[in-house]
Amino acid sequence: MAELAAALLGLAAGVVGGLLGVGGGILFVPALAIFLDQTQVEAEATSLLAIVPVAIVATWRQRGYGNVRLREGLAIGALSGLGVAVGVVAANELSQRALELAFAGLLLLVAARLAWHGLRTETGSERSSSSE
């Protein structure tokens, strides 16, 4: 039963990943932690392995639709090594609570910017009427 729930959450992760251009880790990690009893760090590590084939297949599909700037995407990936190394070591060595809260705050700011971007694209250029 727990396996089925995890698999369904995996399916949802793929849909979100393909739709929004993310790997799906946002749903893989809770699926692994909650339904398969992995610790947070184990769930994050296993999630990363699951992301690889999902990202490859989704890239292949998006390339078919003409939406991939492959050179720039691969450049971003290839140049991520330093950041990845720092992040993985920190995840294994540090207490994560402060980092989580800081990241959450940053995401809320970016969400607001992005929502504003989407709304402005829709309506031309309104000023402050859409501050939800």
Partner: protein, 118 residues
Amino acid sequence: MPRILQLALIGTAAGAFSGLFGVGGGTVIVPLLILWLAYGEREATGTSLAAIAVIAAYAVALQSAYGNVHVGYAALVGVPAIAGAVAGTALQQRLPERAVSLLFAGLLALIAIELIVV
């Protein structure tokens, strides 16, 4: 700023978040491509996926050195996700680009809440 430096900065930021939080880095890459490099939404998400494949492969190689990776569980969630990703990319082609921005903003808000609560 030279283009390659911009891409390197995006990669470094995405990699750090990927390693720290076990995500592929798309939550960082997609908004930066849209807001900083003026990508269209569909291009940003498609290009992000190519970057994620490389970033996640790096990160999983490092994480496996810590003995944290469970291959069977990765397959259990990852195989259904591959089918989901094919459906998700097809669905995206039917949506206006601004809807992708708004959905992405919603996703970021949900992640923020998850980080605070869980």
